[in-house]
């Protein structure tokens, strides 16, 4: 009996430790979210979504000012990055999981992990040398390339593990009816692993959406909307994480408030992505 009770106590103790660990993880997150919302809510008004930022004197003289160009710019740059990273990342993931015997794979795996661990600012530097210098100007597309390098290793990794989680019998079934290998991957393995792929893409997207460092010397920033909408791709573009930083280090209280509001937007955006990823994975267990 004593032995059993001792075991039960030990079990309860371990459970309490785990709950404590969970709370320790959640509390700072909650504090951050509450703090950001409390500080930024007052600056979230209609103009915030419809006006350009302009100069600080606009905010000081209470003329309309907002971040419409930043919001659009963030969406354009992030989705452009996604469009670049997804095909390449999923391709690399397929390579790692479906062609394990290929001689390039050991190198690819090491390179992918290196890329994942590399500081984001170096990816920005790479995009600077690759695109900004030859183009002669900062641009949204160079920012997108830098962010694509942030997304790429994550997408490749999650694709690989999602595909590996599909039983080999499914592939064997496909091969048995005479399908070529690439057709097996495209038509049976990928659809089966769909939710895993979507999750990986969303996680990569959310991760890249919060990066400011790779954008500093690529998309550069802008206080206005471009003259022509193609300017979102070919000219300097504002993005939320980077604008958040520059608003925060400015000396103006009005800009600080806008910075908090920008943080709400960015946080909401990221939480939305992760929630979507969560929902996508949950569906898999239902069916």
């Amino acid at each position: 009996m004593k032995n059993l009770r001792y075991r039960q106590y030990r079990d309860r103790l371990m459970e309490m430790l785990l709950v404590a660990a969970t709370i320790i993880v959640l509390v700072p997150l909650l504090i951050i979210i509450v703090h950001v919302v409390v500080n930024g809510f007052s600056a979230l008004n209609w103009e915030f979504f419809t006006e350009e930022l302009g100069s600080p004197s606009r905010a000081l003289q209470e003329r309309p000012t907002g971040l419409v160009h930043t919001i659009i710019g963030t969406v354009v740059v992030d989705f452009l990055a996604l469009a670049i990273a997804v095909p390449v990342g999923i391709g690399a993931g397929i390579m790692l999981s479906e062609y394990p015997e290929h001689m390039l794979n050991p190198t690819l795996r090491v390179m992918n992990d290196t890329l994942n661990g590399m500081p984001a600012i170096l990816k920005g530097l790479f995009a600077f040398v690759l695109i900004v210098k030859p183009m002669g100007t900062f641009s949204g597309i160079s920012g997108a390339v830098a962010l694509a390098f942030v997304m790429l290793p994550i997408i490749a990794r999650t694709t690989e593990s999602a595909l590996l989680s599909i039983p080999w019998t499914i592939r064997e079934a496909g091969l048995a009816i005479g399908l070529p290998r690439w057709r097996v991957v495209l038509s049976t393995v990928i659809p089966a692993a769909k939710t895993g792929l979507v999750t990986g893409i969303l996680i990569a997207f959310a991760r890249a959406a919060g990066e400011a460092a790779p954008l500093l010397f690529t998309s550069f920033g802008n206080n206005y909307l471009p003259n022509h909408w193609s300017g979102f791709i070919l000219e300097p573009v504002d993005t939320l994480p980077q604008r958040l930083y520059s608003l925060a280090i400015s000396p103006y209280a009005e800009w600080h408030a806008m910075g908090w509001a920008a943080a709400i937007l960015l946080l909401g955006f990221v939480i939305l992505c992760f929630t979507a990823a969560r929902l996508a994975t949950r569906k898999r267990f239902k069916t």
């Binding site: 210098k133 100007t137 659809p191 769909k194 909408w229």
Partner: protein, 388 residues
Amino acid sequence: MLSIRLFFIALILVIFTISCGNNGETDTDVQALTGQTASGEQTSRERRMGLIGAGATFPAPLITAMADEYRDITNGRVTLNYQSIGSGGGIRQFIEQTVMFGMTEAFLSDEVMANIEDQTGGTAFNMPITLADVVPTYNLPGIDKGLVFSGEVLVEIYLGRITRWNDPKIAELNPDMDLPNRQITVVHRSDGSGTTNVWTSFLTRVSDEWRERVGFATSVNWPTGIGGNGNEGVAGAVINTPGAIGYNSLTYAILNNMSYGSVINQSGNIIEPSYEATSEAANIDLPEDTRVLFTNTPAEYGYPIAGFAWMLVYENLDQNRAIQTERQARELIRFLLWTITDGQELSELLGFARLPQAAIERNYAMIEQLKWNGREIGREILEEEQIL
């Protein structure tokens, strides 16, 4: 399966829009070019133009406000995108030719000037646009304002020799103040900064010892003190540390309700930092290229810790890869001209000192030399505006 198909459709759409974007850009470019040759009777949308500049953080409020104003008065024709990335960044990107102009609080060194001359066949101009003033900021409970410093005292504090606020040397300058027996915490910038350049150049000019031991630059080997990143880092450290002394630009100190002291200038006058006193400091015999530091100014009522903030442009504008068309170069020159004339009206409102007339004259002379493929477009614009 459906969602994958949808995804690929979306992907194709994105790629399609990108290529469309490219076409759109070339179209407007072509129209802009033909429009120009056909006497400029095009709709305003095609005549719109973006200029890009980057650099010093200190003049950013003024430059961006000028950009706002200029966009208004040109009816949206010219939009200037200025990003504050610091003086060092401004010089770097100017040399990398990713911006049409750079802004800096430390003028280009002879070495950099020589390199640019080798590469572009012309010089780079340092054009003063506004003035930077650096004030000693402090945190002494009970003494909100009016503390007086001299160059010697500031040097001794920053060398770590005066360590308490009731030191006789400080008391001598402030006979009416009840100085506390409190330790002085020295705060300086930890990043490369034009503000540090102005501050240390003042200390260098008033003290031989400082010149030999530390010297002046955008970042130096500080003998003592703690570092703060950016104006905001120094301000944060000073505001949160009773007994701290730091240095910030005047505008920054005012906007953040910091205490700042007056400084005794070369003529022995106690100068309270003000925009007039800063403008007065620049009222000296300027060299033609305006690459001069006038800290410890000989001007009788000039504030001694002040310097220019310069706009950097290439003499041969066509050699700057960031400027692609002659029209862009012309708009850049027009904007430049406006900033040193009508644009100066915005100064006081935003907490900046106006350019002295001597600096404006020097700027005219430099604008006159600006060229596009050998053509003197700077002179042409000055003639158009009836300044020559």
